[in-house]
Symmetry: C2
Subunit: 338 residues, 2 copies
DNA sequence: TTGACATATGTTTGCGCAAACATATATTTT
DNA sequence: AAAATATATGTTTGCGCAAACATATGTCAA
């Protein structure tokens, strides 16, 4: 009897029942083998595995997971896949969930809180065991859904604010103040700021600005865009700022891409850094190491944040109600550009 | 009666039945409202929606999707989230699937074909409507599973080889030859090559090398690493190559990050590009625009590849059996570095 | 005014699995 | 040798939904 004939005796697609029939055991025993739970003898284990392969059976989690709200899915919602910060966190999440036999289901919001609510609602229809969201800002509707369903939720990137349950991130406020303090200590007084403002950059800048202005400095120029900016715009906006008459002593950028763009402008135009203008970024991305000069920046543990959040979600003992705040350390990298 | 009391009358979590009871309709009508199918009067529509919100009902796709192999999940498997090439493709996929009301479920292989097989097997347990894989190289086991389950599969990035069903990508072979031809025409004869070799870079380099050597050029040095390399290593390996006595006229890099690292070395060391050494990359990533000089490279339509693959998967009329090859155009960007 | 068709809703049914429980045999302890 | 425990398997049951089909009522044309 050919393989094809053999297959046709059974349901299409084949079910555990079919596997059980071939292996000469009960459907429940097949279920145990598929999930690796309970007691199974070596002999039966092999027979079931062989039977499954021979008829091309693939485990169907939709069926069993039905109604139980504890299947191995984790909803992960991030603002963007174009921003390396999020893809690094995602890497940490993906690696960790894999180690815990959980499966991420992704959504991308493009930085819209309304979109986030829609996506989460949609993801919840898969009855995920947990949810990982970016930031602490969400719509009221989203908060309500999470409360109503009781789905275990981790918020990442940011700890300045009120979390739904557990939060994993850095204090954006502290990061902004730390950089302000460092730059003031270096003797700089006249600052410019270039950014594209997501929620976290906003918190960082507010703290930065407040500290600067409370300690005798001024922010004489800003270039703030509502839409996402990258290295290219960092270069252009730096050129713009430096072409004016009131030249700042330092430019603080909302991220390293912008700062690197600024550095490229200075290299191209033979502007001395930090003598003519100093530069500071944020994130501490790896590619900075490859640049001709080391940019001053704040290093954030992005991969680790993803790992810890995913571990918390995976841990059956961690409770939604504990509302733990996991604040990660940041490190100010004193580079050559300040 | 408080909201809480009202909720407690019903199942926990609430079901369509509960919603139906509150709205005074049948469970099937609620199902129609949730999925937006069939005929529903304005009045009933509103009553059902209100009822759902009032008792905190969230649609459960696990239940209905059971056994039907046509639920709105798409499995997406990529080698890495650290490589911008894949995150850009992913962006295209994510955006497009969203537009088609499909939900991506992700897996990351870390460039291991065995891991890919495991991940796909795992993803299939969610009975996805389709699968998007990177590359044309897969284990025999994976090919067999795909054939057995008949799951609609798109392969992306690469079209040089034998696809399972539909493939979406560029000809790596053509890209390698095109660059070889261009550089030979510029008069260069002595080449170096720096790479970390994934399947696609390998095909590209084989074609590049064959063309060079068949047309009077030589590849005098190579630096090929089995593990992933970034800008930093691009800089270091370039320094290494240029520190030797047999200096190549051009360095061809497997990607733009490596090439940009090479450029950074040249800028730092005041090496004239392209007079002392010419550089060429691959991908045409956006950040190249921000560099002090434009690097010669091959521009690939990454986002579009993601969009088209996702559209094909979403299209109910597209058939697995057609085995269409969707080859995308590449463009050689003649920069300042050659 | 009849029939054809669009619109709107309800009833029955079974999908494939895993929890809960039952049972049976082997192994160890007392 | 009896009791306790570990190991190994089977039986029954129901999860929540959507397909298939049935049944109304409204609307329009002939």
């Amino acid at each position: 009897m050919s393989d094809k004939d053999k297959k046709n005796q059974y349901s299409n697609p084949p079910t555990m029942h079919d596997v059980a029939h071939v292996a000469g055991v009960s459907q429940m025993t097949v279920s145990r083998v598929m999930r690796g739970t309970g007691y199974i003898s070596k002999d039966v284990l092999k027979r079931v595995q062989d039977a499954a392969i021979s008829i091309g059976y693939v485990h169907n989690r939709l069926a069993g997971g039905m109604s139980k709200y504890d299947n191995p899915l984790i909803g992960v919602v991030v603002p963007s896949l174009q921003n390396r910060v999020f893809t690094e966190v995602l890497s940490g999440i993906s690696d960790t969930l894999n180690n815990n036999n959980l499966q991420p289901v992704f959504g991308v919001t493009e930085y819209s809180l309304e979109r986030e609510e829609e996506i989460v609602f949609d993801l919840l229809s898969w009855r995920p065991r947990g949810l990982i969201l970016a930031g602490l800002e969400h719509t009221d509707g989203l908060r309500r859904i999470i409360e109503q369903t009781g789905v275990k939720t981790a918020e990442i990137m940011d700890v300045d604010g009120s979390a739904i349950a557990a939060s994993f991130g850095i204090s954006q406020k502290a990061a902004g103040e730390q950089m302000a303090k460092y730059l003031l200590n270096k003797g700089y007084k006249n600052f410019a700021y270039i950014a594209w403002l997501d929620e976290r950059a906003k918190k960082r800048f507010d703290a930065f600005k407040a500290y600067i202005e409370n300690h005798g400095g001024i922010i004489s120029q800003t270039r703030i865009s509502p839409k996402m900016l990258s290295m290219k715009e960092g270069r252009e906006l730096t050129a713009d700022i430096l072409s004016g008459s009131d030249k700042p002593e330092v430019i603080y950028y909302a991220n390293d891409d912008l700062a690197a763009g600024g550095l490229m402008h200075c290299i191209t135009e033979n502007i001395k850094v930090p003598e003519d203008v100093a530069l500071a970024g944020f994130n501490g991305l790896n590619f900075l190491e490859a640049l001709p000069v080391q940019i001053t920046t704040t290093k954030t543990p992005r991969y680790e944040i993803g790992v810890e959040a995913a571990n918390w979600i995976s841990d059956k003992n961690s409770k939604q109600e504990e509302r733990r705040v996991h604040e990660f350390d940041i490190e100010l990298i004193k580079g050559d550009t300040t």
